[in-house]
Subunit: 344 residues, 3 copies
């Protein structure tokens, strides 16, 4: 009997099934430092204990996307090892900060299944939750992927397509306990622009570009204990290229968005997202954002801003997104929709 | 007078000589995070404080091979700066876990000397011990290397060849204090296979491959404060290649072996090892294992498994090892023999 | 209105102006580990808590140059985003150790301005201070850069050229509180050479070389939150090269100088420095040093040594520096002048 993990195939999933993912992980100052070495992350709240304390938190939490990658990475061996495509995200919410020293584990529930008409694959929807050592949820999100069938002759399951929200409602955003931006220091944070300065529909070209190296995306992807072969093995594809973990592009684009959105301090919801085109080493990643919505929150001095974040390969000028055919332009890598918290 | 270190030559060693190696090192969460970024390490005991606590330990120890590399690195300026070849390991035992915050230093005793018949070099055997800040030994192993003579005319020392065990006896394995696998969570650990599921002679192809980059092996080797020029200086060899530290291949192969040996949680002995062929950036490393032996230990729920770990460049399918001439095949990088602890 | 940071131009500076730089940063064990992975740093005081305690300190401080890079990085968006050249350093002093867990911020005062005769740019002198979370200064230095004008027609400011010391006077060196080298362990530190063994005028070829990779210098530069585009964006220059942050070369050369200067434990002053030629990935960096001066300090067992540190691309043999025309040779990357502390 083979002892290695073949991954799950489409017919291995059942609606309602709960999967406890392997390998809990204690995350600490080392992960934070690596995150800041891998991405040009500068948002002050996740950079400085003092800034965090002045904002009502005990200390500086680990970066929101670091938490996402750790939770996500654990799901790969169970959810996407035989995935053909990562199709989408929805209803993502950060539920509590992750602090240095916390131990994170993940579990997923299958919430939808739909076999493709070709009978060779199907779409699996899972709702994943990250939990800390006190079994407190720190993050949840829905992801759906296209997964191969082991046996094309296996009968199709009953189709269940979950009803997912187009965006997290402002009232459902969870604000970290104690967060207070009334004494916010805009000079230390790096930019003067407050929540009131951003208009729905406004677009920002973040200008800066970073050329990506193989070593970097592999260091990142391993750190999140994401085992997908395509990211590491140059013999896996005919062209000898290693596909870069989509989350590497998300973190790179988010960090680049500091230039223009320095005060969008914390991501609190992931409304949706598409990895529009694959990213490879040698690509120079740029980013632009569009303000999609704004909302008040109950927390003192804290507003919420809904942003589209687009990562491109090459130019970000001109806000490239889709062609006349409605399809993503070839230079678009990522189209992400999230809520962040900002000082009023 | 030159102030730089020329390294020791063969005639500088005397049997019985004790060398206190330089530069003690405090290791902490940063080293752990880097270890997990450099290798796809997923063994739960060295990943999660909670998992370690459920296994009777205070918290998650630093990875066993991280401890090995730190101890080993310190010996390089004194033992292998003028080495022609790293010939073997024996009688390696991990004696106590290394915890974040511990300070490690190394010392070696020369236990054997044998001049080569050409008179230009000789073999030096050293027994190296790593010690923590309480002068408690954390690791010991024997290594032998071929070292150049400064002066070919220097007289040969009396030949002393130490009598080394072919493998550490099960009764000599040191189990970390408190270790208890009776409540082991196989689901969280990532695989259902327990000690009893492995048969002596069984071989496992770990399947996954990782293509290695220059930046990665240099980051690793520097982190262990290993100063051997061949790893860093592309002008050192005529072909412009940097030789990858053999320990980088050991850690990569061990991490890859998670897929099939996820429950071989801790390495406790190094019986032997050969760096069969040099590894260079661009190589895609794979691994396979063979079960060599099994033993019980006194610790609750804890079994010992003796494994051969073979790293290859390219395919691991077919379990490549040696040719008909008894020599390692050119695609074999490493042949390691170790004992690990596993839940019964 | 554009929300991104265009950087300051020459006419935006006023003598006396104080700039509080953005994004304070908590530095900890993660940054230390990364520093030791990026550079072959082995000076014992910044490697081992035990060695530091035996030298009268609480624990091992973060590397002196790590502190420099963190303080420096924050100034880039305000001082050198539109800089044409980094012209020099002076009067640099480390004022207190930076400990893991400290939060560092930076502020600069403009102390000199001189428009160039072409009217298109000018020189800006700033005195930068790094402060910890108790508002205690940890580092100060003067730097001057050539900055473009936004508008060539803008009137020239009154010329103010600060009067800067050629070197920090020995009496102005700040010795870390409690530092005591009377019980110094030369064997653990790695070399037997004490302060009295070095003669003014003596030169040391540090021999070892390190070939630099793109991934490494970008990891480093991002970790210091240095945002200068030229370091990250391969599309920024016509030749597709990324210019390596000068501080990466400083740290590499300083770490290489361990071989011959293992006991020059802590840098306490930066007298001057020139980035003689740009460094690119693929360059093999070597280093040599010259003893420029020696001084006693009040601290027990502690001497000060003033060193020239020269980094080269390729050979360090023969101590390459300047040609007959008085200009730096093309293989010279760095010419640095600093004070370090050494056991008497």
């Amino acid at each position: 009997m083979s002892k290695t993990n073949p991954g799950r195939f489409f017919e291995d999933y059942r609606v309602g099934q709960v999967i406890r993912h392997a390998v809990p992980r204690t995350v600490a100052e080392g992960e934070r430092a690596l995150y800041h070495a891998l991405y040009p992350a500068r948002h002050a709240l996740c950079s400085s204990d003092e800034f965090a304390a002045a904002s009502g938190l005990e200390s500086s939490p680990l970066d929101d996307l670091l938490a996402f990658h750790v939770v996500f990475g654990k799901t790969v061996p169970d959810v996407s090892l035989n995935a053909v495509a990562n199709l989408g995200y929805a209803e993502g919410r950060w539920l509590a900060p992750v602090w240095p020293g916390d131990t994170i584990r993940s579990e997923s529930q299958v919430i939808g299944l739909k076999q493709n008409s070709n009978g060779k694959s199907g779409v699996v929807w899972v709702r994943t939750r990250g939990l800390n050592q006190m079994d407190q949820p720190v993050l949840e999100y829905v992801r759906w992927v296209m997964v191969r069938k082991r046996d094309a002759e296996a009968p199709a399951p009953e189709t269940v397509v979950p009803d997912l929200a187009g965006a997290v409602a402002p009232g459902d955003l969870v604000i970290p306990e104690g967060l207070d931006f009334t004494g916010y220091d805009f000079e230390l944070a790096g930019e003067p622009h407050r929540w009131g300065d951003y208009a729905v529909g406004e677009r920002i070209d973040h200008i800066d570009g970073v050329t990506i190296e193989e070593a970097e995306h592999m260091l990142a992807t391993r750190l999140w204990q994401n085992t997908a072969k395509v990211h590491f093995d140059a013999t896996n594809r005919e062209d000898g290229k290693r596909l870069i973990y989509g989350g590497h592009v998300i973190s790179m684009a988010r960090a680049l968005s500091f230039n223009g959105l320095a005060n969008a301090q914390l991501i609190v919801a992931l409304n949706g997202g598409a990895h529009a085109n694959p990213c490879f080493a040698g690509d120079t990643v740029r980013a632009w954002s569009e303000v999609l919505d704004k909302a008040e929150t109950g927390a003192p001095g804290v507003g919420a801003i809904r942003l589209r974040l687009v990562a491109t390969r090459g130019a970000s000028a001109g806000f490239p997104l889709k062609g006349e055919d409605g399809k993503y332009l070839p230079e678009v890598l990522l189209d992400l929709d999230y809520w962040a918290l900002m000082p009023l």
